[in-house]
């Protein structure tokens, strides 16, 4: 299902999260797909089950999976994980804007930045 890169300095669970998140976002894993069990994926990748458990916990936290104890982990619908991600991003935006406002960046500068980023090449 996925391949680990041992030259990568990041922890294993993070690599697993990244790769699975990518598969979900790209649509390779449809909603309600049953994920491989913690043990089987651990065996597959030759790592400890806890490592996979941690990755799955992260993915659940981020809204990409939901867990049913005793049954397994399943992919959430796009609608669900997307709304979670948007909420998270809007918080980031608000925090950045607040700090900019506090130090006295004028509204126009913000608006210009928004315009640049939202400038559609094909209107």
């Amino acid at each position: 299902m996925i391949v680990l890169d041992y030259r990568d300095k990041r922890p294993i669970y993070e690599q697993v999260v990244e790769k699975l998140e990518h598969l979900i976002v790209c649509g390779a894993l449809e909603a309600n797909t049953k994920m491989p069990s913690v043990r089987s994926l651990a065996l597959d990748l030759s790592v400890n089950p806890n490592t996979i458990q941690r990755a799955y916990a992260q993915l659940e936290q981020d809204g990409y999976l939901y867990t049913v104890v005793g049954r397994g982990n399943y992919v959430t619908s796009e609608q669900e994980w997307k709304s979670g991600k948007i909420e998270q991003l809007m918080t980031e935006v608000r925090e950045a804007l607040t700090k900019a406002h506090d130090i006295g960046v004028p509204k126009e500068d913000i608006w210009n930045a928004v315009s640049e980023i939202y400038a559609e090449t094909t209107p």
Copy 2:
């Protein structure tokens, strides 16, 4: 000049940075004021000179101090450190906006957030 809090779990150099930055931002230390030397402040706080050196390096990086080798560290003008900080904040804003744009947050939602944060209570 400053007092350390040993219950604070953060590293010493970070506390020093925070407190000095605060003094500069609040205007307690005027532009071109000579800072205490690395050694004297270290002696004062009973820490290693390298710890103060690291704090000063951070403050220089952030644009609050400038260094003259063999002479000492001096406070930069408000104009200078403010423009540095604004640049940094605008980068943060742009990054957040780009991510929001990429996932499909509509322009209006951004504009609403900007309006809320820039809503002046005394127009």
